[in-house]
């Protein structure tokens, strides 16, 4: 694919469907904070009751993520950061967008492997996911990795939305770009808070009851 169109597809996929899925993910997870194990299980069930859910996952999550991630690594490789001489906020964001992109790429591969892929393998089920998550995030190393991964991903998401508006010629002038910065910052704060609240909710004891059943399986899986 030619450079211009590849980059346009990369940019579009970042917003639709990946950003929309991330927001959906935050809302589903938030059910763990709001409704506890019951609420979370219902939220996961709601998603899995969607028609043609496998194709939804394939075309709205996996393939877009794969293209966006791999092409994104190439974009990150092409940059030659010069923060040393240009310490502006926009230049920081330029560099951070690339660093957080690489972190998110690694984090998401690990995260999909330890959750969704384990369902495919039959090591856990959709209904047991709350307890499964409890077992992961109660291990300090994995919890820290989750915190770093989640914040890197939400930063990349919010700053990416800002860049999308510039790249498609929606925010043209400096004032428009500044205002959209504030809006995207707000988006970052809200989505990050929702993810972090659900992460802490997964750590709580109420998720432990469902967890005990599968603890042995998980420990053999990810140590």
């Amino acid at each position: 694919m030619k450079g211009y169109y590849a980059r346009k597809v990369h940019s579009l996929l970042g917003l639709i469907p990946i950003s929309l899925f991330l927001i959906e993910h935050a809302i589903t997870n938030f059910a763990a904070y709001e409704g506890g194990p019951e609420g979370f299980r219902d939220a996961v069930r709601l998603l899995n009751d969607l028609p043609l859910v496998f194709f939804l996952e394939l075309f709205a999550i996996w393939l877009p993520l794969l293209f966006h991630g791999v092409y994104g690594l190439y974009i990150a490789y092409q940059a030659q950061p010069n923060l040393g001489h240009f310490k502006t906020e926009r230049n920081w964001r330029f560099v951070m967008q690339r660093i957080t992109g690489v972190i998110a790429f690694i984090f998401i591969i690990w995260h999909v492997y330890t959750t969704r892929f384990q369902i495919t393998l039959g090591n856990t089920t959709h209904d047991e996911l709350g307890g499964w998550m409890h077992n992961i995030v109660t291990q300090p190393g994995f919890f820290v990795f989750f915190l770093v991964g989640v914040i890197a991903t939400t930063f990349h998401f919010a700053n990416g939305v800002w860049a999308f508006f510039v790249s498609w010629g929606i925010t043209v002038g400096p004032r428009a770009q500044r205002i959209s910065s504030y809006i995207c910052l707000g988006l970052f704060v809200v989505v990050t808070a929702m993810f972090l609240m659900s992460l802490f909710a997964f750590r709580s004891a109420e998720f432990a009851d469902t967890a005990s059943v599968i603890t042995t399986t998980l420990h053999t899986m990810i140590g």
């Binding site: 030619k2 450079g3 211009y4 169109y5 590849a6 980059r7 346009k8 974009i75 490789y77 092409q78 940059a79 030659q80 950061p81 010069n82 040393g84 001489h85 240009f86 502006t88 926009r90 230049n91 964001r93 330029f94 560099v95 967008q97 860049a163 510039v166 790249s167 498609w168 010629g169 929606i170 925010t171 043209v172 002038g173 400096p174 770009q177």
Partner: protein, 262 residues
């Protein structure tokens, strides 16, 4: 050229010296190295007058005789762009870099995003090739008298004039983290010129040709990563990022037009 001793207050200044650390390179192929120079201070001196002093008396800080430092300059009033170089880490024009306003020692290096010819002399051909590629001109010649073109609204002329201040100096390309050996990105300067010529009532007649040039190959507008260093570095204050975003809009429209209207 003024002699150092001709200045009326030369006596009180002879003791003051200014140190320069210059990145030098003897040929395009050889490795760069730094050389230090210890020059007498003169009131109001700029980087060009310092380089002239080295040319007059090519002795480095150790007292050894050396080849004079090569550089390019023309207008000496920041309108030609020839003397662009990296001064204390920032790409800018040497003629408007007053030593009184610079941190010392003053570190000078060539804008190494471009091929270095010798010392501070660089080859900016890629910028002029970029202008040719995007057709940064207005075709007005015909086999007969085409008559007067459409008038340009005064309000439009005012902002377009700002874009016309570009002197192809290369500072924006040096500042851009996406202009390097790993990419073909055409750089902010030529992009802004596309906006300028597409804004002109006569130039507008060929607007699509220019936009197409930004959308084919691997050097087009998609190379911009929104670090926005260009607009901070531009010595003429050209709203480069506004130009790029406006062209993002124009190329996006062009893309859909090509898909659905053909």
């Amino acid at each position: 050229m003024a002699e150092t001793t001709a200045a009326p207050n030369a006596g009180q200044n002879t003791s003051r010296r200014v140190k320069f650390v210059i990145t030098r390179q003897d040929t395009p192929e050889t490795k760069p190295y730094t050389e230090e120079f210890d020059l007498p201070y003169r009131p109001g001196m700029n980087v060009i007058s310092a380089l002239m002093e080295i040319q007059r008396n090519p002795v480095n800080a150790e007292g050894g005789s050396t080849a004079p430092v090569c550089w390019e300059s023309n207008c000496l009033e920041e309108v030609c762009g020839a003397c662009s170089m990296v001064i204390n880490g920032k790409p800018r024009q040497a003629c408007s870099a007053l030593v009184d306003q610079l941190e010392q020692p003053v570190r000078i290096a060539p804008m190494s995003t471009f091929p270095v010819v010798r010392d501070l002399v660089i080859d900016r051909s890629r910028m002029f090739n970029a202008l040719k590629k995007v057709k940064a001109w207005i075709p007005i010649d015909g086999t007969y008298d085409l008559g007067a073109g459409p008038r340009m609204p005064e309000k439009k002329r005012q902002w377009a004039y700002e874009l016309s201040k570009c002197m192809t100096c290369g500072v924006c390309l040096q500042a851009c983290p996406n202009v390097n050996d790993k990419t073909d990105f055409i750089g902010p300067a030529a992009l802004s010129q596309v906006r300028l010529f597409n804004a002109h009532p006569t130039g507008e007649m060929n607007a699509d040709d220019r936009l197409d040039m930004l959308m084919e190959g691997s050097d087009g507008i998609e190379g911009c990563g929104n670090s926005q260093n260009c607009v901070r570095a531009c010595p003429k204050g050209i709203p480069l990022t506004t130009s790029i975003a406006e062209l993002n809009k124009q190329t996006t429209k062009r893309m859909f037009k090509r898909w659905f209207a053909q």
